[in-house]
């Protein structure tokens, strides 16, 4: 039967989007969460979220307690940063960013006193009776950003829910990236906290129902969540098929509600809000316990790692310390990746801190990376079939390679979610995602340039106006003076004439 089935399956199956990468979640997913003790030094980047960087409010030498705010939000879309442990501020300055560009970013350096002493915390009593705005304010103060990877300030999203009516709140527990299992562990071990967070968020947004989407490859998490959800009629645990990128909000929304979010608009526009399960848990901690976001769950995985597992890690810990705690690396990893293998960022070195949005650190061996030299596109169409958005990666890539960015945009470049399915399947190993990242960056730079040119023009116009005005004023003043002088002269002449006539020689 097997062979016939193999022949006929391609004939009958409707082609689904996405890919089925090797999961590689075990054995990390089977080890309980371990807590990482505070490292000696922590580096707290001021920009761990989408939006404006936070502003430091501490001095060098200042002592801080765990959970104390060290940098406040600046502007509407921003998030504060809190001390992950107790200790002393030793520096405020640039550090290497956990980013492939190898550029620097501003950070506060904290020397841990190893006491890990909490600042006094105060939870919000009876939060479900409070105004939604108050919950959102609490979440904002706790510095909570989306922990699913997008790191969008959670409070903004909650507030958003208030303005545009939200019908369904979706908790994203799909964790479709291979290797990662921190959401899985969270749901297995702390299901109650997640559900509590969901209930709080539902109150904050006014959503009518909560749906929790979990991929079918996490039966234990599904069971734990089902057990925890008992008693909440309007909270529902939904099983979704395991497929990458099921965790992407647009795909998950279709799977769970059947709604297709229109391009160029947000999920909230169709009454849906998606949050990661970790975010829900963090919100529960912030509201009920008053704890700001200072730590998160992270998966450490990869063939080059001695002890893969899930860890609760203080934000700001150096990757180096983290790896050492997890037994160190075996040999030289081919790549250190922050996040999952499909969308994670290549790290320039292990001497960079983890940030709030970091769901895992992968130390990948050369065989896992399977890096080959890219070849020419053979137009096999695999990428098109894999793309969950229905784009034509090969066509976009060809245009980008020829610097025809506008043509790539016309093909839907801005709809690309950067999931990496296309590059993952490409037999020619073409770095498609990098090409799309490049194009998106270039386009954004053009946008900035254009704005700048406009600003320049405005300023140049203002200047020429000013010069004109000054010249006019000068001319007017000169004219006035001249007129005055003339008048003066005339007067004088008249006077002298008068005097002359008066004093005319007899």
């Amino acid at each position: 039967m097997g062979f016939l089935d193999k022949i006929f399956r391609p004939l009958t199956r409707s082609e689904p989007w996405g890919v089925h990468p090797d999961e590689r979640k075990r054995p990390a997913s089977e080890t309980p969460i371990r807590r990482l003790p505070p490292p000696p030094l922590l580096y707290l980047p001021l920009s761990q979220h989408v939006g404006a960087a936070a502003e430091p409010i501490v001095r060098i030498g200042q002592k801080v307690l765990k959970g104390e705010c060290v940098a406040t939000a600046k502007g509407n879309i921003s998030a504060p940063v809190h001390a992950p442990t107790s200790g002393e501020i030793v520096a405020i300055g640039p550090i290497t960013a956990p980013h492939p560009s190898r550029l620097e970013m501003m950070a506060i350096t904290l020397r841990s006193d190893m006491e890990d002493r909490w600042a006094p915390l105060e939870g919000l009593a009876d939060p479900l009776a409070r105004a939604p705005e108050e919950l959102a304010r609490r979440v904002a103060e706790a510095g909570i950003v989306g922990l699913g990877g997008a790191t969008f300030p959670a409070s903004v999203k909650l507030g958003l829910g208030h303005r545009s009516r939200i019908r369904t709140l979706i908790l994203n527990g799909s964790e479709c990236e291979p290797y990662l299992s921190c959401d899985d562990r969270l749901m297995r071990e702390r299901a109650g906290g997640v559900i509590r967070g969901a209930v709080l968020m539902r109150h904050a947004t006014g959503a009518r129902e909560v749906r929790i989407g979990i991929e079918d490859n996490k039966p234990e998490a599904i069971a734990a969540m089902r057990a925890a959800v008992d008693g909440h009629a309007d909270v529902q645990v939904c099983v979704v098929p395991a497929r990458y990128p099921m965790g992407s909000d647009r795909q998950l929304i279709i799977e769970l509600t059947g709604i297709e979010v229109p391009a160029e608009s947000r999920a909230a526009d169709v009454g849906v809000l998606v949050h990661n399960v970790g975010t829900a848990f963090a919100i529960h901690q912030a509201i009920d316990l008053g704890r700001p976001l200072v730590s998160r769950l992270m998966t450490l995985n990869g063939e080059a790692l001695a002890q893969p597992g899930n860890y609760e890690v203080l934000v700001g810990t150096l990757v180096e310390d983290l790896l050492a705690f997890a037994g160190g690396v075996r040999g030289e990893p081919a790549r250190l990746v922050m996040g999952g293998p499909m969308m994670g960022l290549l790290l320039p070195s292990a001497k960079v801190p983890v940030v709030k949005g970091c769901s895992g650190i992968l130390a990948l061996s050369a065989t896992e990376v399977a890096r080959d030299e890219p070849g020419p596109c053979i137009r096999c169409g695999s990428c098109t079939r894999a793309c969950p958005v229905g784009l034509l990666p090969l066509e976009m890539n060809a245009r980008i390679a020829n610097a025809a960015l506008d043509a790539a945009v016309a093909l839907g470049l801005h709809d690309c979610i950067g999931c990496g399915c296309c590059a993952w399947v490409c037999p020619s190993r073409i770095p498609l995602v990098q090409a799309f990242n490049h194009a998106k960056g270039e386009l954004a730079a053009h946008e900035r340039d254009k704005k700048r040119t406009d600003a320049t023009r405005r300023m140049a116009e203002a200047r020429s106006e000013r010069l004109e005005r000054e010249a006019r004023e000068k001319a007017e003043a000169a004219a006035r003076r001249a007129a005055e002088r003339k008048a003066q002269k005339a007067r004088e002449a008249a006077e002298s004439a008068a005097s002359n006539s008066e004093g005319a020689p007899a």
């Binding site: 020397r111 169709v270 499909m342 290549l346 070195s349 037999p427 770095p431």
Partner: protein
């Protein structure tokens, strides 16, 4: 050293990794693997052909592939590019070209064909993936138009080790010198025979009855090219490609439907004038074309709808040229014609982008119903 790991400390760190965007893993096959699978699928039919037509066919096969590889390397050397022989695409092009030639064609046909396929059909456009037309078919058609006599000389099967089959030494003479084969050795293939007889005013049934036995035979013992005789093995190879996911069903199915539908209608309307659908599907390059030639990634559309249009166009054109045109077989021309249309098809058959309508405008947001229950 400052406790702050700024980039100034990089000297103390291990060498920086080369910049690479996600994904950091890979899941698909490599190009070379894909080509190898296609060759694997072709192997049974090819071996059958070798047995059927003996050493001259094997010689021609070797020469054709050799010419392709040589031409590929030569062009890349000229352009200062590194060798890409390893990806197997030039080999595959030569293979498919060899399968489509008269089995006893002289060596210079294979040599010239290989060069045309690779130089004019492929490298002029920049090599693998850049060509607009199917290289093997370009070569076949160019040869057919240039040397119609040689390209329409088919031999009757003389299985290897059978009494009449030329030995290896004889075969070298046949391959090198291209002697005019005596009438006893040459024969017509089904499509050619029916076409010539029709032109004489003899109906198809009469032509088939009077024609040589080797016109049509289910076991493959018949006149034709290597890729045409072992039809059932070609079909098996094609199904293997489908099963292993190298190709998808759209193009082969559409090609076969495009040939079969008009053939059914025509045969039903006038059996004296038109061959039956079975005869159409099992003769000439129908199956080889549907599974191995039309499916060439580079020169076919890559959306399902586009592939259906493309395949159906090939099928219909093949039937039209076979039935009404000046050439007995139309597959090569049909493939090239639809290759030419591929950019146009690709342009008008784009997949719908999630969140957008077919015309590219964003969907209307569905109204939010906040009143109902879950």
């Amino acid at each position: 050293m400052s406790p702050v790991p700024t980039s100034a400390d990089d000297g103390a760190l291990p060498a920086l990794p080369t910049l690479a965007a996600s994904p950091h893993a890979h899941g698909g096959m490599s190009v070379a693997q894909v080509m190898q699978r296609v060759m694997l699928a072709l192997a049974p039919a090819t071996l059958f052909g070798f047995w059927l037509f003996g050493w001259p066919a094997i010689n021609l096969f070797a020469v054709t592939i050799g010419a392709c590889l040589l031409a590929e390397r030569f062009c890349e050397r000229l352009m200062g590019r590194t060798s890409s022989l390893g990806d197997g695409s030039a080999l595959l092009t030569g293979w498919l070209l060899a399968l489509s030639l008269p089995p006893w064609a002289p060596a210079w046909i294979g040599l010239l064909g290989g060069f045309i396929a690779i130089v004019v059909g492929k490298q002029v456009f920049g090599g693998l993936g850049q060509n607009l037309f199917n290289p093997a078919m370009v070569a076949r058609v160019a040869l057919l138009v240039s040397f119609p006599v040689v390209m329409t000389q088919w031999v009757v099967p003389q299985p290897l080790f059978s009494a009449d089959a030329p030995g290896f030494i004889d075969s070298l003479r046949i391959t090198a010198e291209a002697p005019a084969h005596p009438d006893a050795v040459t024969s017509a293939s089904l499509l050619g025979h029916s076409k010539t007889e029709l032109a004489r005013g003899i109906t198809i049934p009469e032509a088939l009855a009077s024609g040589p036995q080797t016109l049509f035979d289910w076991t493959g013992l018949r006149t034709g090219s290597l890729g045409e005789t072992g039809t059932l093995l070609v079909l098996a190879g094609g199904l293997y490609l489908l099963a292993s996911g190298i190709i998808r069903w759209h193009i082969p199915a559409a090609v076969l439907a495009g040939i079969a539908l008009p053939a059914l209608v025509g045969h039903a309307a006038d059996p004296a004038r038109y061959l039956s659908a079975t005869q159409h599907l099992l003769s000439g390059a129908a199956l080889l074309g549907a599974f191995f030639i039309a499916t060439d990634y580079v020169t076919s559309p890559n959306t399902p709808a586009g592939q259906l249009i493309f395949g159906f166009g090939i099928g219909i054109l093949t039937w039209i040229i076979r039935s009404w045109g000046g050439y007995p077989e139309g597959m090569a021309f049909a493939v090239l014609l639809m290759n030419a249309l591929t950019p146009v098809i690709d342009r008008y058959c784009r997949p719908r982008i999630l969140g957008r309508r077919r015309d590219g405008r964003a969907l209307e947001p569905t109204p939010i119903d906040n009143t109902g229950g879950a």
